[in-house]
């Protein structure tokens, strides 16, 4: 009897020491796509050119190498991923994050402060934006870290901290230690040591990917047509996800289209042309629409006459039917800009106060108003219906746009057609996108197109493109870009728009931020330094024959835009989505 009891005890003890990893992998496969790098160049590095950033993108990387939190655009609040608690310290001198006590790497070791410190030591060498706000990162205990502000506390810094991917010190500790030594020695980025370490970081390819998310993979599961990420048992989310593996087909839009139609690809973030979207609908494939958080803007080179005249720019804003332009940009996947403020329409009411929103000129399509503004600027229509100035000069200019970008090309060609019909004489010039970008930076253009706004909940970030990105203030080496002067007299006062934009989202007082953002939006709305033509939407196939649990269109999760806050990340981690088959 004693022998049986001993045996029973042994069995019970054995069961007791078997870790959580005994849980079984969920069944089912997620069928997605990402244009990952093919072998032999594909690597598992977190900071390499052919590593995780290139191979998994923002959506799938979060399932492998998790950040602290996930941002909900509908509520403006963060949901926990790697962290369990976060917030500003009482004196607002630092930001404190507590790592979830159960957070583990895929090898079973715990995620600790050391991993965060290693991540940020490397980030300092790589010139991360976080260091514009923080001076140091320190461990309070094994699971708590503090990010010490170098100046004013900032909600922008909070987002940067909470959205950064945390890497394992087991892989990157040695490089991080070298980084710490370099910083402790007082060396700067101009030094050879700094440059050599930056180069080593960019070349480091770990043999094994240590994942904090519920999925991981090895190079053996990457092939020419698809790669497969396998469920791993040690993540906080391993118990909630409903897919045993994530299969990602290689390739871009033209390659993934047939796979969507054949049902082998259930979800894709690619931009599909309007006709293709219609084909998906005809094939009974469900579509979800989320913000893409940017759109094409018509850019002026402000040294070019007559685009240095505000009335001409305003007239052009009135003369373009933006709904039509949106449809020709991306079919149902775009909508005409409403508020013309430099802030995404969806975010206007959140980031600006009511009074400012009411005061914004919406530039509704009106050719009469446009004509009136042209006349105010000294132009008249000639016999052929073209605008000419007092000296009889037509507005004969060139509009450069990237030939490869179907959306920007469509927006540009339609804008050109509408403006020419209104009385301009614009010649379309389609060039390789790399050339167009370089020309815009160099100021070597008259009219062009590039994106405005971005997927950030902060006004400062949304104002960034193109008025800072493609203007002399955001460029180096003497490039002038749009050359819209950022210091000028406005309503009898000297203003510095550059500073106003940079300060729009500083501090923790949201009301004050709204006020400052409102001042910038008003100026942009009035002076029209660029014309935000439309806002793009991401129309994504979500084949419910393969995916179950897709929330309906009214669910607030769909307010999250494409990119680092993509709804799919959260829906997979929470186990909301599962394999329908």
């Amino acid at each position: 009897m004693k022998r049986y009891i001993a045996l029973l005890l042994a069995v019970v003890m054995l069961v007791g020491i078997v870790p959580v990893s005994a849980q079984e992998a969920p069944e089912g496969t997620w069928l997605g796509t990402w244009p990952y790098v093919l072998p032999p160049e594909h690597d598992l590095g977190s900071f390499t050119a052919s590593g995780l950033a290139a191979n998994l993108g923002n959506v799938y990387r979060s399932l492998v190498e998790m950040p602290f939190a996930f941002y909900m655009w509908s509520s403006g609040e963060y949901e926990p991923m790697l962290a369990s608690e976060w917030g500003f310290t009482e004196d607002n001198t630092a930001y404190r994050v507590t790592i979830n006590a159960d957070a583990m790497w895929s090898d079973g070791s715990p995620v600790t402060s050391a991993d965060v410190l290693a991540t940020y030591s490397i980030g300092r060498i790589r010139g991360w934006s976080q260091y514009n706000y923080i001076s140091e990162v320190r461990a309070i205990d094994d699971k708590t870290v503090e990010f010490v502000f170098s100046g004013e506390p900032s909600l922008v810094a909070e987002r940067l901290i909470l959205k950064e991917y945390i890497v394992a010190a087991a892989n990157y500790g040695e490089l991080a230690a070298r980084a710490d030594e370099i910083v402790a020695a007082g060396l700067t980025r101009d030094s050879e040591e700094w440059a050599a370490l930056a180069s080593d970081i960019g070349a480091f390819k770990p043999d094994v990917l240590l994942a904090s998310g519920p999925y991981t993979y090895t190079l053996d599961t990457v092939n020419d047509a698809f790669m497969t990420m396998q469920w791993q048992p040690n993540s906080i989310f391993s118990g909630s996800v409903q897919f045993g593996e994530i299969k990602l087909w290689a390739g871009e839009t033209e390659v993934t289209t047939p796979l969507v139609l054949s049902g082998e690809l259930a979800h894709s973030t690619n931009v599909y042309p309007a006709n293709t979207v219609t084909s998906f609908e005809s094939a009974g494939i469900n579509l979800v629409t989320i913000p893409r958080a940017y759109g094409p803007a018509l850019l002026f080179q402000h040294d070019t006459y007559p685009f240095n005249i505000v009335e001409v720019r305003q007239a052009m804003a009135y003369a373009i039917n933006r709904d039509e332009n949106a449809f020709l940009t991306n079919g149902i996947g775009a909508s005409g800009t409403v508020y013309m403020s430099g802030i995404l329409d969806d975010m206007v009411t959140l980031l600006l106060d009511e009074e400012t929103v009411e005061s914004l000129n919406r530039y509704e399509y009106n050719l009469e108003t446009a004509a009136g503004l042209m006349e105010t600027a000294g132009f008249t229509l000639d016999d052929e219906g073209k605008w000419v100035d007092a000296e009889g000069n037509r507005i004969s200019v060139e509009y450069k746009f990237p030939a490869e970008f179907a959306d920007f090309s469509g927006a540009s060609q339609n804008a050109i057609d509408q403006l020419n019909a209104f009385g301009f004489d614009i010649t379309a010039r389609a060039n390789p996108w790399q050339e167009v970008a370089a020309d815009i930076r160099a100021g070597n253009f008259q009219l062009s197109v590039w994106s405005w706004a971005q997927g950030s909940p902060f006004a400062t970030s949304q104002f960034f493109g193109p008025i800072q990105r493609f203007n002399y203030v955001g460029l180096t080496d003497g490039q002038i870009g749009m050359n819209f002067q950022m210091e000028f007299e406005y309503n009898g006062e000297m203003v510095n728009l550059q500073d106003m934009i940079n300060n729009a989202s500083t501090g923790l007082d949201v009301e004050a931020q709204r006020e400052r953002a409102g001042d910038v939006a008003t100026i942009i709305n009035d002076l029209m330094p660029f014309i935000p033509l439309n806002v793009m939407l991401s129309v994504e196939p979500m084949n419910e024959a393969a995916i179950a649990g897709v929330p309906d269109d009214s669910d607030p999760i769909w307010l999250n835009p494409s990119g680092v806050d993509h709804p799919i990340i959260w829906l997979i981690l929470q186990g909301t989505l599962s394999d329908a088959q």
Binding site: V37, D43, I125, W128, V255, L259, P432, Q434, A437
Partner: protein, 362 residues
């Protein structure tokens, strides 16, 4: 009187000056072809090197744009992008060229700029075999099929078969290969569902262990069906039309009439007289086509996600991976030049007049 014999001087071998040696070598047709080929490869390599750098944007600039799309400032993006690549876009082009040629002389094509130190040699070795296999097989099959059909319809000229095959060949000849590839995928794959689009992608089924097994070889052929089929459909037409034209021309020659008058059988005339002579012009063309096998078909490989050199070249061009582009272009240049040289030598062997140097009559 005796005489002391004086030793006869040993006849010295006639010595040739280096100039004479070179002249004699230059008189050799094969040597001339070889030198021309080497000079051509060097010229193309240099031209490609310069041309690549004249393209708008460089790898770092493109990465900067991508990072700025995520909201980084130019300065931040520049800093991060510079750390990613072992490449200095500001280095003088002459310095870059000397470095490139120096490495090339040692057989080193450098490392992929985007691939974090992956040697370009290994990238080419990874992708080239699949292109050689698929495009080579496609070329071989289309050549055999095209020449066979060409002879048949030439013999039955004016009949239904001639009209039908000529029309179909003309149509196929006029359709670009990528359109055929798209039609195969969308019509045959998606609409008719004769095959699963995804399962035909790649070079083989990754679930099968690579090795000399029937299963693995079968998988390779199964995955090559679509690209090879596309090449056959898009190129057979040209072989058919060329062979038909060449055969008709040969059939009108006097020696065919003589052969017929001698009472030789049709089979013997076809094989020994018509076929052989009609094939001659096509052999040269085939040799040149073999040279272009290496470049594959960029769009076809991309559509089928076939891991050939063309697909890799597309990414290298898009992201301005200079070293990989240079390596792939070099391999393509060598293959085309080598095929042309082979064609020249073949032609010189078939027609001795071609070998004769200027005014030398040798």
């Amino acid at each position: 009187m005796t005489s002391i014999p004086t030793p006869r001087p040993v006849a010295a071998a006639p010595r040739r000056s280096p100039g004479q040696v070179l002249r004699r070598l230059w008189d050799s047709y094969s040597f001339r072809v070889l030198i021309q080929s080497l000079v051509t490869i060097w010229a193309v390599t240099t031209f490609t090197f310069v041309l690549i750098r004249l393209m708008p944007g460089n790898p770092i600039q493109i990465r900067i744009d991508q990072l700025m799309n995520r909201g980084l400032t130019f300065e931040e993006a520049e800093q991060q992008a510079a750390n990613l690549f072992d490449f200095d876009p500001d280095a003088p082009i002459l310095e870059q060229y000397v470095d490139y040629i120096g490495k090339l002389a040692r057989g080193d094509l450098g490392n992929s700029i985007l691939g974090g130190g992956t040697p370009v040699n290994s990238i080419i070795l990874e992708f080239l075999p699949w292109t050689l296999f698929s495009v080579g097989l496609g070329l071989l099959l289309s050549f055999l099929l095209g020449t066979l059909l060409g002879v048949i319809i030439a013999y039955r000229r004016g009949g239904f078969l001639d009209n039908f095959i000529t029309t179909v060949s003309s149509i196929l000849y006029g359709i670009p290969d990528y359109v055929i590839a798209l039609l195969l995928i969308l019509v045959v794959g998606v609409q008719l569902q004769w095959f699963q689009v995804g399962q035909m992608r790649g070079a083989y089924n990754p679930a099968i262990e690579p090795g000399f097994t029937l299963e693995f070889i079968a998988s390779i052929f199964q995955h090559a069906i679509l690209p090879v089929g596309t090449y056959i459909l898009s190129t057979t037409g040209s072989w058919v039309l060329a062979m038909k034209s060449s055969t008709l021309s040969t059939l009108g020659e006097d020696f065919i009439t003589v052969a017929k008058a001698r009472g030789l059988s049709e089979t013997r005339i076809l094989s020994a007289y018509v076929g052989r002579n009609a094939l001659l012009p096509l052999v040269t063309r085939l040799a040149i086509s073999i040279g272009f096998v290496v470049s594959g078909s960029v769009i076809v490989e991309e559509f089928f996600q076939y891991p050939g050199l063309g697909r890799r070249l597309l990414r290298a061009i898009t992201e301005r991976d200079y070293t990989t582009m240079q390596g792939i272009f070099l391999v393509i240049s060598i293959s085309v030049v080598a095929a042309n040289a082979l064609s020249d030598l073949l032609l010189g062997w078939l027609d001795p007049r071609v070998r004769v140097g200027k005014g030398r009559g040798r």
